[in-house]
Symmetry: C2
Subunit: 254 residues, 2 copies
Amino acid sequence: MATHDGSRTVEAVQTTLDIIELLLERDGAGITEIASELDRSKGTIHGHMATLSQNEFVVKEGDTYRLSLRYLELGEKVRDRLQIYDVVTEELDDLSASCGELAQFAMTEHGRAVYIYKSAGENAIQSASSPGKREYMHCLSLGKAMLAHMPRERVEEIIDRHGLVGYTENTITDPETLFEELEAIRERGYAFDREEKIEGLRCVAAPVTTKDEIVGAISISGPASRFEGDFYEEELPSMITRSANVIEINSQFS
Amino acid sequence: MATHDGSRTVEAVQTTLDIIELLLERDGAGITEIASELDRSKGTIHGHMATLSQNEFVVKEGDTYRLSLRYLELGEKVRDRLQIYDVVTEELDDLSASCGELAQFAMTEHGRAVYIYKSAGENAIQSASSPGKREYMHCLSLGKAMLAHMPRERVEEIIDRHGLVGYTENTITDPETLFEELEAIRERGYAFDREEKIEGLRCVAAPVTTKDEIVGAISISGPASRFEGDFYEEELPSMITRSANVIEINSQFS
DNA sequence: ATGGCTGTTCGCACCTCTCAAACGCTTGAG
DNA sequence: CTCAAGCGTTTGAGAGGTGCGAACAGCCAT
């Protein structure tokens, strides 16, 4: 356990973060509702809401509170600080257009994959992912591509923390199998998702690195019906690795 | 009673929000740096960072902390909940294309204008605004358009809270003058910004209302050199009010 | 009018947050 | 190679804040 969870934390802050998370799920909530949901007294919640409201992190409309528009600012700032962002969007738009499928870019944080951008080609499937969405890494081509370029101890940490949750019968739930898969990905240069998260959904992903450091990964996703044979095993891999290369090269000049 | 600021607040939460705001300004900071900036002990900040990090609101890279990619998720959710968003973007793209200038949409929160979306026509000026950016209302055409459709007491509250800061010699800094201006805007149906915030920048704005309730405002901005005569006083107002109307109508079916 | 539901306020007891100091660690200078 | 200075981290102990619960005020439907 390298993640020192033993650190002393601030419970009052924990409560506030719980409130924010609750407001993220529901679109607006009242004091009593929040209080009962989080098992805190109404007075306590009231104090927290007052603090959040004064700092404009929350808006009070009548008796219900909502997350404020400040989060647009925060999201925007965070995105603007990703230097590769513009390079990625440009290349993914090209990629999705030329293959007609769904192209995505993700980075990693706290041992999870975070979707940053997606670009839909004309035949692209619908995907539930949206920017900022966090997902376990072991069942995504994007995630495995990134894991493959991390030191083994780091991967073990991640497994310890998040486990290897199973979604379909193809999900890798055994650590040793995962390490073998990562080894194969490293040799190959790209990763597959053979319906490991969602039945019928297949993907190919390639890592994006700069100076041997992993910065993220890009992927192409589509239905199992189209993703098979040479198209799946040869064409798409070659397209995705080419795009990853373009991103790596272009990102050096920004 | 309305929002009285006398409410008891939670100081520990205030500290955390100050930290977030600090990280919003700087791109990454260390414990000592944050501690000295906020006049707190290192130990205190450490505890707060541990809490924020465990909740994935912050990322620790080596010894520096940054805002995490979670804020992308938060920003996205907040934006998705604005029902008019899609209608607005579509119409503003049309508007900016047909007049060649910069078209923007803003809403109001905590007595301030918050930019939500902007669309640049081919001759559009550069603007420092970006989604989520908050600005005083009295010196913006967008802001005045919204103020004009608020009850007088609400406007007085806002003046009390934020004052009427002066930026140029045209900025309205006197409450009575402002109320007269708002009256004129109400009669006219649209608002001007005659270089009241930035020298050389002029705008026209129209409110967007549904069921007599103000939801936001749209504007066109451009250089004083182009924004004059009939174009500024007649053509642009007619375009902007037409667009506002389109948005109001279309937003009823969503 | 009445009860039930909000959000709000307040006093009090307890716990938690904050501070300061000391620790281990890395870095750079001598 | 040594040392000092900087960093983040941990800990104890104390003051102060925080949370609770009860009581209050307002709203709405019955």
